[in-house]
Symmetry: C2
Subunit: 671 residues, 2 copies
């Protein structure tokens, strides 16, 4: 048993026990001049750890000597900016960073490394952020939305920022969250929903003092605060008759708005904007394009160093299901690729990783390869909208790793992470994601979903990291000193949980099949089939899938650079897991795996439920080895996961049996 769970808030991956290796050492912290609030956090962390574990803390301006210390943490001009080096020499571990924020990361690198950070001498280990921006977006509402609730797509209780229609007086949960984010290198947080409703719009004006309070809480952890804003603000807040980007009054309104923000919060990050998307206002109303719209805000922020994150999630959400030529997957590319080069350099275009919408499996968005002159951010979804609502175990590290390392551009030599980081040369954007936390005792509803938040931050910092190693790291921090069976069982449950989730839900990349009634939770094969949302599978008695080829389909495959356009276009080379995203095939089509499509659907769904079912017993065996409340919460969620996965299995197997008429070769029950 670890001792880290309080009945109020779980410490996640920062329990006191995780600080034992560092906290039992003699530590010298040398911050140099101007260390600011982040430097103070470094000192606080070391003090807290050494107090708990019997070590000692010395604070100096400069580290003139390492004598008498086991660990030296110092800021020095020769350290990496925003990063750190760690080396072991002469029995002393030395961490050097170019600034206080780098030092905070270096400190947590020592915590993560644990005892081995104090092992044999080794050459410098350099840790630099893989992306300049590592952001989390909160889809939190101030007023509880009648349909979407307090946190849109939130599965972990209410908002940590808002309660009772305003920013909370007590921001201690935000402070604990900021500490968690700082420890994994997240450096930007947008604190309100991209769907900006009435009350939330006013954060930009009347609400600024409250935003400043939140920013004050994030700042000491190296995290800058952003707001989602409404493109219609000049009208709705400013009383103007237009929000036209070309209108001088509109430009002046935004400039004045930005001036007020920075007068209150000098290190404010900038704006996140969802415009002309799913009903949100945008520049189209005035005959302007997205570059006009984004640049309008960018020019208001420019004098203050702020950035606009402009979302590329633009498509026709009033599509006629009868229309098979319109393809939602094409939309972001069709809208944005022609605008490459038109965006100001303090605009980052925020692109969902797939062309549709955060599905369990999608190809990588071709927009990421199509805009070399634009700062791009890839957007991930930590909150489990389509991956089980934090009721299902679904460790998403492997999905994100696949996205970030995918060799999308330049003849398949340049990974997504490099593109968004502007490497080797080019405009740099970043990595962003929708957060999965709420005011739940365990932060994330499902305690194991904490691993997704952790892995997100770590992958944003180190996109090349192995997600299973990161999971191991998370387990070590979250369950320090736990029985080895804990680690082993967690790997069993989590390593392949994403693939397991995929195996019982929508098959072979076709996506959706989720229930519109339950906010995308649980199966409903035709749930979006005759709808306006552009997400269809076109299953009939003969076959299934969406023909997105250039030759006979919507042409989406042609939006990719070579070799991907050829790979996806050709049935012979299209990977099985994306087959139905790109092709409509008969149920008897034989996969590279050797199975027919229909038998694959039958088998994988049944096998996956067997896997999930086995987890219940595996987890039950940990009773007494992990915190009681955490154990109970996970057990409760696993029961629901088995129920839900069984429903997925039976509905999909029955649906496709009824439609195809093909019997399951294994003879397992179909209803």
């Amino acid at each position: 048993m670890n001792d880290t769970t309080s009945p109020s808030v779980h410490p996640a991956w920062l329990p006191d026990a995780a600080f034992a290796p560092l906290g039992s050492r003699r530590v010298l912290v040398a911050l140099g001049p101007d260390a600011g609030p982040v430097g103070a956090t470094v000192v606080d962390e070391v003090r807290r750890a050494t107090t708990a574990h019997g070590g000692s803390l010395t604070v100096a301006d400069v580290a003139s000597t390492a004598d008498g210390h086991d660990l030296v943490l110092r800021v020095a001009p020769d350290g990496p900016e925003a990063g750190s080096t760690r080396l072991r020499t002469g029995g002393v571990t030395v961490v050097v960073a170019g600034d206080a924020t780098g030092l905070l990361h270096g400190l947590h690198d020592v915590v993560r490394t644990g005892e081995s950070a104090f092992g044999a001498d080794h050459p410098p280990v350099v840790s630099r952020p893989g992306s300049p921006v590592r952001m989390l977006d909160h889809w939190d509402n101030i007023d509880v939305h009648p349909v979407m609730g307090q946190v849109e797509r939130g599965y972990a209780g209410g908002s940590i920022f808002y309660a009772d229609g305003r920013v909370r007086d007590d921001l201690s949960r935000v402070a604990a969250y900021a500490r968690l984010l700082g420890s994994i290198g997240v450096n930007a947080v947008a604190i309100n929903n991209v769907n900006v409703h009435r009350a939330e719009a006013r954060l930009l004006t009347d609400g600024l003092p409250d935003v400043a309070r939140v920013a004050d809480v994030f700042r000491p952890h190296g995290v800058r605060t952003y707001l989602s804003v409404s493109f219609a603000s000049p009208v709705t807040l400013g009383g103007l008759s237009t929000s036209d980007p070309a209108d001088p009054q509109v430009q002046a309104w935004w400039a004045a708005a930005a001036d007020r923000v920075y007068a209150t919060i000098p290190d404010f990050g900038g704006f996140v904007v969802k415009a002309d998307s799913e009903g949100q206002p945008g520049p189209f109303a005035y005959g302007r394009d997205h570059a006009d719209g984004a640049n309008l805000l960018a020019r208001a922020l420019r004098p203050h160093g702020g950035t606009v994150f402009w979302r590329a999630f633009v498509y026709n959400h009033e599509q006629d299901w009868r229309d098979r030529r319109t393809d939602r997957a094409r939309a972001a590319y069709d809208h944005f690729a022609p605008l490459d080069g038109r965006f100001d350099d303090n605009v980052v275009l925020q692109v969902k990783y797939g062309p549709v919408d955060f599905q369990t499996r999608e190809p990588i968005s071709p927009v990421l390869a199509a805009m070399p002159r634009t700062r791009l951010a890839v957007e991930l979804q930590v909150t489990q909208e389509y991956t089980g609502h934090q009721k299902h175990v679904c460790y998403l590290g492997p999905l994100w790793s696949q996205v970030l390392t995918f060799p999308l551009a330049d003849d398949a030599t340049r990974a997504v992470a490099s593109i968004v980081a502007g490497l080797p040369s080019g405009p740099a954007g970043g990595i962003t994601a929708v957060s999965n936390v709420g005011d739940d005792e365990f932060w994330t509803g499902h305690p194991l979903a904490q691993a997704n938040l952790y892995a997100y931050g770590r992958l944003a910092w180190s996109p090349e990291a192995d997600p299973v190693d990161l999971l191991d790291e998370w387990i070590g921090l979250t369950f320090p000193d736990a029985d080895p069976r804990v680690r082993s069982t967690l790997h069993t449950l989590m390593d392949e949980s994403w693939l397991t989730y995929e195996a019982y839900t929508a098959p072979l990349g076709v996506g959706f099949m989720v229930d519109p009634l339950r906010g995308h939770y649980g199966p409903n094969v035709d749930g979006y089939e005759y709808s306006k949302w552009g997400t269809y599978h076109f299953a009939d008695r003969d076959g299934i899938g969406v023909d997105r080829t250039v030759a006979t389909g919507t042409g989406f495959a042609g939006q990719y650079p070579s070799p991907w356009r050829e790979t996806y276009e050709d049935l012979a080379t299209c990977p099985d897991e994306l087959l139905l995203f790109f092709h409509h095939v008969p149920y008897g089509h034989v996969l590279h795996s050797g199975k027919t499509v229909i038998q694959h659907i039958y088998d994988t769904r049944a096998d996956a439920v067997d896997v999930v079912t086995s987890w219940v017993e595996e987890w039950a065996a940990l009773h007494g080895l992990v915190d009681e409340r955490l154990h109970a919460r996970v057990a409760e969620r696993l029961t629901e996961q088995v129920r839900s996965a069984t429903e997925w299995r039976d509905q999909l197997r029955s649906y496709f049996s009824r439609k195809s008429g093909v019997p399951d070769a294994t003879g397992r029950p179909i209803y």
Copy 2:
């Protein structure tokens, strides 16, 4: 143009102009002793009419002579109880009723009959109610329900009874409604939702003064007030530890509750109860049956002359869709038929007309033939839950007429209306229905849906009436003095509107296929297919329908008396319109109509949309001939009906084409 529409509340079928024939006469009203508030209403109606139209009113205790009068309305011991006779003799129209309520109905009979009531002498026309109870249930909530809203299954705005969490201070809308109901013979109203939530439960206790105010408004129109109550009231309101019918404390609690109600409202009607149904509490929790439960309440009401309306809508609403043996259609019979003879004589068992749930087409509930020793009421649904949400024109008179005249029992000689009226001998129950009114300007959202309220009351009084005649009557009253084209167009739109609605929605009696996301509005073929609600169509690539035969299916057909059990059991005799309710057949099965099932599905859906589309132009041609606001409202709804019907057409045609692979012989487009 008629002059009857105010911008606030439409007069429905009681515009002043409809009273011209009566109001221009010299009228003698002789109420006899003890005419009470209903007698006063008769006098008020005549005064209002004669004032408007130049006639005269004389009020006397007894009508000693008809001299000098054109119309004599009198209460006399020889008149029919609760009914009236009307005859024309010596140039005078004489209406005689056994009591004031009968006289009110006789008065409105004269209004409906119009000038011809003053035509040539004729023998007495006797009007007696076809059923002792003619009730409307309001599914109104006091507190706005987060999912169901203020009026559950309401499509006409908010409640006329409640606003801002309490009974309205201003009950003038209720008074106008009471007048409408009194004019068509409705004599009972339950004023709150059968799903009794927290606030509504308290109407039985703290809310009684408010209920009394409502009862005061209904009373002068011959309408008694009822409450829906929660079976759990002894626990939730009384603080007892049980609601067990066998517990003396529980019995005492209900007795005391009834005493309080009658001390406040001496003519209170009684209770409506939904127990052990869709999550409502009931006697099952205590190992008791529905007779035990109903009799508990009946014994509390007995000393005061009150009645319990106990709903037979009991089924497993947590059914596993995989389970094909459980059949929701069987449930009411299985639960209640064995209890025949066990209910006290002030219990009325309230049975939905079909075995499932107010579908556009269902067979008649076999429960109505199975309980000869029980007072039965047949329950209809005026509110258009499954028939187009008062956005679609769907005149339900023909459906209800078919239900009430259906020769269900005693070797097909005894109609449903006779069964529930206890004719020729037997316990008498009545007819009840869910109201379709709200605080909408036109009462019913769709102005033409007023005809459903009208026809319901008239059919409850005269079950043998021709529903097209009643529609004609309604048109004459609602649009007095209108251009003949108005009457003609309304018949075109409405006479067969129910069959038209059926023709574009779920085919051949299979039911549902409605959208769970939109409260049963619009198509979703599989919307309830893999759900817990027990409403399935079992369509696969080969065929569709539910096998409810005795031979190979659920056995539901065997719940009917002869000859219906044989008629429905046999594919050769089962009527087309109920085919898929009773049988699972291949798509190529040939109907009595000569078409295959699949071609029937294709054709009727396409043809029906053509019909609805033609209505738009028909209605447009009435512009200037009916009230402008009413015209605009109907036009707006017709546009939506065409859109929605088109969606039904295209989804169903596409769904069954994709599934069956059978081409549409007409070559019309399929998507």
